[in-house]
């Protein structure tokens, strides 16, 4: 084709923006393919996945906007770990690398990360990475009861799953053999490979269209621009040190989370010194996961319009002393690391509230109230109940978000996670569970000028009145979400049985035959004094019977 002569340098600028948009479109398509082909219900119904493009030197360049901040920034670190073990020069076209190492991946064994190099001719021009949650990786199941990471399931160190197009059959046999749901395990591994492959195809098309041989210049620009924009957002802030502290339930004793945030000219650093030490059970957090959620909170508050990449990430530094609960080392158990990880934005906002009061939320339910429910096959055998249907369901449930500076909090909405719920009609089609109730919990939002979002009341029984298990990983039962600037606290969460027994917030517990599980998710905290609430808002809540 005839080469167009570009007389105006400004068009190069526009073309740069166009190519940037294209890269984002490519990773969005990659994510779309993963969601459509995945087997794990939390991936396909809830969107617990991520996808991104990386420069061969490991810098993250573009990221699909999915519902999982915890994957977003952990994946950025993950690709560098792969490159450290498998240098770019050793990678071949058609290779796919995987791992579910919590410290090299996304913080627990249930997520696999897959990395695929993209070649144009003989030249490696970048890497595609993707992550999603797997239904089962063996071990004791998806709950916080593990005493070390070995109890938590099957571990795949960074390995080549596909070598130049050839699937490693041994690895696949091992993976299948170590999951209670082998077909889903294999299917989801293939989905990761497939979505990366689509990314590679689209990238090649893009390079041909723009007649590019490599992307380094473009990557440098994207990273540079994003960093500049993030820096500009910080530049206007008063410099200095702020401290935030929050206490939550923990596994068997309360956990104190302490953040010290230092804003300087070109860096926001968050340090978790003073935070509680390791938990005996699996609510510990690998540092990369703590970094992911802390950084996400800062991005939402200070530079929400800047795309997430290694440039925008570079203005935030998150540190924690080893063997605090937010910097657990192998072999600490980490399966339910999301509870504390997802609480960290509240702690960070405790700091930022002292600097940019109108850009933070009050505390919210924050950690997802995921209900992991399974058949109680063993209890049925013991109790002489015949055949019970085998099932494993992960039902994402949410509480209320904290109130905003200009609006009430969102009821029954995930934050900081952004995943969606699973329709109960789908869950009831897949399992013998019956959801008797799932509705807003009136009066659970903390009062204030703006009210916290409401939690939900959920009641679940078994169709055949058989017993079943809950793997509880629920917090804010003892420690509700606090309001800010005079706003009141949200109402704490609750988990128990219809027959009256209270259940623990953490750990595998039996819902006895014929009983019903009752769950009340926490409400969000209020923002500003309740005396300042507009009368119209009070009236609307009363009219809608939402005021308890």
């Amino acid at each position: 084709m005839m080469q167009t002569v570009r007389s105006m340098p400004a068009i190069d600028e526009i073309e740069f923006q166009i190519m940037w948009n294209r890269l984002i479109a490519v990773v969005e398509e990659q994510a779309q393919v993963l969601r459509r082909t995945a087997f794990s219900p939390i991936v396909r119904e809830s969107g617990d996945l991520s996808a991104g493009f990386f420069h061969p030197d490991g810098r993250m360049i573009a990221q699909a906007v999915t519902g999982t901040p915890g994957h977003v920034n952990t994946m950025a670190a993950s690709v560098r770990h792969f490159l450290a073990r498998y240098p770019a020069t050793s990678m071949k076209d058609g290779d796919v690398y995987i791992t579910n190492d919590p410290w090299l991946g996304t913080g627990h064994l249930h997520d696999f990360v897959a990395v695929t190099p993209a070649f144009l001719g003989d030249v490696m021009v970048g890497l595609f990475a993707s992550t999603c949650h797997f239904m089962d990786v063996g071990g004791i199941g998806f709950g916080p009861d593990g005493r070390d990471v070995f109890e938590e399931g099957f571990y795949v160190p960074p390995m080549k799953m596909i070598a130049e197009g050839m699937l490693d059959a041994t690895l696949m046999i091992l993976a299948r053999s170590n999951s209670r749901y082998p077909a889903e395990m294999e299917g989801d591994l293939m989905s990761l490979a497939a979505c990366n492959a689509i990314g590679v195809d689209r990238l090649r098309e893009m390079l041909r269209e723009f007649e590019l041989g490599d992307l380094t210049l473009l990557c440098d620009q994207i990273v540079g621009r994003s960093r500049e924009a993030a820096l500009a957002a910080i530049a206007g802030l008063p410099q200095g040190v702020t401290r935030g502290e929050m206490v939550i339930d923990g596994y068997d004793k309360p956990v104190t989370l302490v953040a010290t945030t230092t804003i300087s000219k070109d860096l926001i650093s968050v340090d978790f010194t003073g935070t509680s030490g390791l938990s005996a059970r699996g609510i510990n957090v690998p540092l990369s996961y703590a970094q992911a959620y802390s950084t996400y909170a800062i991005a939402c508050a200070l530079f929400p319009g800047v795309p997430n990449n290694s440039g925008s990430l570079s203005v935030v530094e998150v540190t924690a002393p080893q063997d605090t609960i937010v910097n657990a080392q192998r072999p600490a158990p980490v399966s339910s690391r999301h509870i504390i990880g997802q609480m960290l934005p509240d702690v960070v906002y405790g700091c930022l509230a002292q600097v940019v009061a109108d850009r933070v939320l009050a505390e919210g339910a924050s950690a997802l109230w995921n209900l992991i429910l399974e058949d109680a096959y063993d209890a049925c055998l013991t109790q002489g109940i015949g055949q019970t249907a085998r099932f494993s369901a992960l039902s994402v449930q949410t509480g209320g978000t904290g109130a905003r500076s200009n609006e009430d909090g969102l009821s029954a909405t995930a934050f900081p996670s952004g995943v969606s719920g699973v329709p109960i009609e789908i869950l009831e089609t897949m399992t013998p569970l019956i959801f008797w109730r799932k509705e807003l919990r009136s009066g659970s939002g903390g009062h204030g000028r703006f009210r916290g979002g409401l939690g939900q009341t959920i009641e679940i029984g078994h169709r055949d009145n058989h017993p079943f298990y809950i793997y509880a990983a629920l917090d804010r039962i003892e420690h509700p979400a606090r309001g800010r600037f005079g706003g009141q606290d949200g109402i704490a969460g609750y988990v128990g049985l219809k027959s009256g027994t209270r259940l623990r917030g953490k750990g595998k517990q039996l819902v006895p035959a014929g009983d019903t599980l009752v769950v009340q998710t926490p409400g969000g905290g209020g923002y500003g004094p309740v005396e300042e609430r507009e009368p119209g808002r009070i009236e609307t809540d009363r009219d809608n019977q939402l005021d308890g």
């Binding site: 526009i14 948009n21 077909a183 497939a194 319009g305 009831e428 509705e439 807003l440």
Partner: protein, 700 residues
């Protein structure tokens, strides 16, 4: 078969009501201002004026076709009926809880869509059906009767009923309607088992509620229209265009008005399908760009892709998830906030963004001089010489180039240190890239390759951007049809009589013949035929059956067609093979040993309209056409040249115009860039060819 018929087609849009009259294959058209309060007034006025021209009356018409955005607008403007929802105890808030996610991951100030029924008007009964349709708790009938009084007292005008798993067993919903009908006989009822009998409680309830919300308005409007038309002597059937691209009876439309929401864009897609067939093009992409949005639709072998989900009233920037979900048959298209009125601005990163915010018709683009001072795509097009300012909207709107320049300088050029013309080029380039990205992702989601396709461009803004969009997507050919300005109304004339019935019934592929599915499909076929038959007027009805399959454990299904003769069982081996083919086409490879399940079944009954084959050759070219003027035209690569402007009415079959050139007509301007050539084909359509694509292909 080429029966001679007299047909009229009316499309009510937000601003204009378009009317097309076809008498023995000859078409005339008009635009009248939409009369919001009594929309039938504009309809009658437009039709009467066209009939008068031909000295005909309503009694001379053989068919009356109609599509409208009234239903959509009633939802967007929240002008629907006072609606109540009756649902299962424990699920009062399903329509408010929604998906529990946030449609923008980084914006902590988002607003979620407001449900159409307020909480105090959501009533519950302690009844419960299980996933397999068995009754876990029976309906407390005495309580239902009590509710009748409450509904009356609360001045409820329309009732939606959506019980958990009602798609599997509708008995309780039907019984509630029976009981309440005795107490409040004039009440309008919408049942989820009839509106949207599909699994997923939020989407089903949302669809049912939306239907209930607009039903009194739509039923009232359609009733009045029917009466007025009859009073004026109309004896022909009145048929409504649905968002699925088929025509339905006025009775069905009044009962299920939610199926009308996207009827205008559907008409456009149907028009594109027809033109594709006339021009012998098997694979096309239709490109419809108006004032606020651009819609792109993939059409293979004259049949647009279909889908079953859609969002109405996206509250924020057209973001997925910010609207109210409705599950109805729709023509699958990607719609993005890119139109002539889309506003250009520079964000905090110094990035130029265009749309989705639109200046629409009020205050309009800066150059309209109606108070808008922010630069839009139309302003950029004007500065780039793509629009003939003297002939815009048939000369009805005088465009001010100086105001366009001022707005571009102030909001784009100044911020990025770009000369005005360069800023305008940048605005056009960004909006074109947005559209091409959206099309690429859309095509990929459906496993389609765009590059072999021709593009059919219509709508006021499309022909100005079509050539460059085609170049970006690697397409070789663009067709700008005649009558593009009233494209949707013309499309209605080409639509088949069609009705789709969808039912959820879960089964493993292996057990498909033991699950009662065969009976279910027979009932669905009977229902679909019963809707189409009254309007088919004896013409043969075709049935299409499809199933939505996935691997056991997946969450998204693929639709697979399967031929089904009356008596035999379902051939599961063949169904598996079709599914695997589709799956490989979309996702690259299929899985060898996985079990397959079926969630949903669909049956469509179709009858062709009278005389679809009115293709006529356009008058052929006489002398070489002369330009009507010259414009300072800035081409897509930034080069500035004097380009000739031709009146489209001066062109005839066989004429060919090399780019750069502008071809202007009342509703739009077609841009022919350098290295493109425009030719008038035998039917009068403009065909733009990228002469460079041929060269590139030869070189590869």
């Amino acid at each position: 078969m080429n029966e001679q018929t007299n047909r009229v087609s009316v499309d009510i849009g937000g601003t204009f009501t378009d009317v097309v009259l076809e008498i023995a294959g000859e078409r005339s058209s008009t635009k009248v201002l939409t009369t919001k309060r009594e929309p039938e007034e504009a309809v009658l006025e437009g039709v009467e004026s066209l009939l008068r021209e031909k000295s005909l009356s309503f009694a001379d018409l053989d068919l009356f076709l109609h599509g409208t955005t009234l239903a959509t607008n009633a939802i967007i403007e929240r002008r629907g009926a006072m609606t109540a929802l009756i649902t299962t105890d424990g699920f009062r808030d399903t329509i408010e809880i929604g998906s529990e996610s946030r449609h923008d991951q980084y914006d902590i100030f988002i607003k979620k869509p407001q449900p159409l029924v307020r909480r105090r008007h959501r009533f519950v009964f302690e009844e419960r059906v299980a996933a397999d349709g068995s009754v876990l708790k029976s309906l407390p009938e005495d309580r239902v009767a009590e509710l009748g009084k409450t509904l009356k007292a609360a001045c409820i005008e329309s009732v939606a009923i959506s019980f958990i798993h009602a798609y599997a067993n509708p008995a309780h919903e039907i019984r509630v309607r029976e009981i309440l009908s005795d107490i409040i006989p004039d009440m309008s009822f919408s049942l989820s088992c009839e509106v949207c009998p599909e699994v997923r409680e939020y989407e089903r309830a949302s669809t049912t509620v939306a239907n209930a919300y607009i039903r009194p308005i739509m039923a009232g409007y359609l009733g009045r229209l029917k009466t007025e038309l009859a009073r004026r002597g109309l004896r022909a059937p009145l048929l409504l265009m649905t968002s699925g691209g088929g025509l339905t009876t006025v009775e069905q439309a009044a009962a299920f008005p939610i199926r009308l929401v996207e009827s205008g864009p559907a008409g456009g897609a149907i028009l594109a399908s027809k033109i594709a067939m006339d021009c012998g093009l098997n694979e096309i992409v239709s490109f419809d760009m108006g004032g606020t949005t651009a819609k792109l639709c993939l059409i293979d072998n004259g049949t647009p892709l279909k889908s079953r989900s859609f969002e109405v009233d996206r509250t924020e920037r057209f973001l997925k998830g910010s609207g109210l979900p409705v599950r109805i048959p729709v023509i699958e298209m990607v719609e993005i906030g890119a139109g002539g009125g889309s506003i250009a601005q520079v964000d905090s990163l110094g990035r130029l963004t265009v749309g989705p915010e639109s200046a629409s018709s009020e205050p309009g683009p800066a150059s309209y001089n109606r108070g808008g001072d922010r630069p839009t795509v139309t302003d950029a097009d004007l500065v780039l010489g793509r629009i003939d300012p003297t002939n815009f909207a048939g000369g009805k709107v005088g465009l001010r180039r100086d105001l366009a320049e001022k707005a571009l300088d102030e909001h784009v050029g100044g911020r990025l240190a770009l000369a005005c013309v360069v800023a305008a080029s940048a605005v056009a380039a960004i909006v074109e890239e947005n559209m091409s990205n959206a099309s690429r992702v859309h095509a990929a989601e459906h496993g389609k390759d765009l590059r072999r396709r021709a593009m059919i461009a219509f709508g006021g803004a499309a022909p100005m951007h079509a050539a460059q969009l085609a170049r970006k997507l690697g397409l070789g050919k663009v067709i700008v049809p005649i009558g593009a300005g009233v494209g949707s109304a013309i499309g209605f004339l080409e639509a088949p009589l069609a009705y789709e019935v969808v039912r959820s019934r879960h089964s493993r592929l292996a057990d498909v013949n033991d699950s009662g599915v065969r009976d279910l499909i027979s009932r669905m076929q009977a229902e679909a035929v019963s809707v189409v038959e009254p309007a088919a007027n004896g013409r043969p009805i075709q049935l299409r059956t499809s199933a939505f399959l996935r691997y056991v454990g997946q969450g998204h299904e693929l639709e697979v067609d399967f031929p089904l003769d009356a008596s035999t069982n379902i051939n599961s081996a063949r169904l598996r093979r079709h599914f695997e083919e589709r799956y490989s086409a979309v996702f690259g490879r299929f899985l060898q040993s996985h079990a397959i399940e079926i969630l949903t079944w669909a049956v469509t009954a179709t009858a062709r309209q009278l005389s679809a084959g009115t293709v006529k050759a356009a008058p052929s070219a006489r002398a070489k056409p002369k330009p009507s003027g010259w414009t300072d035209f800035v081409d897509f690569d930034g080069t500035s040249v004097k380009a000739p402007v031709y009146l489209r009415s001066d062109l005839g079959t066989g004429h060919s115009i090399p780019g750069p050139a502008i071809i202007t007509e009342a509703e739009t301007n077609t841009v022919v860039p350098a290295r493109f050539e425009a030719r008038v084909d035998r039917l009068g359509h403009l065909e733009l060819t990228n002469t460079a694509v041929g060269i590139a292909a030869a070189a590869e």
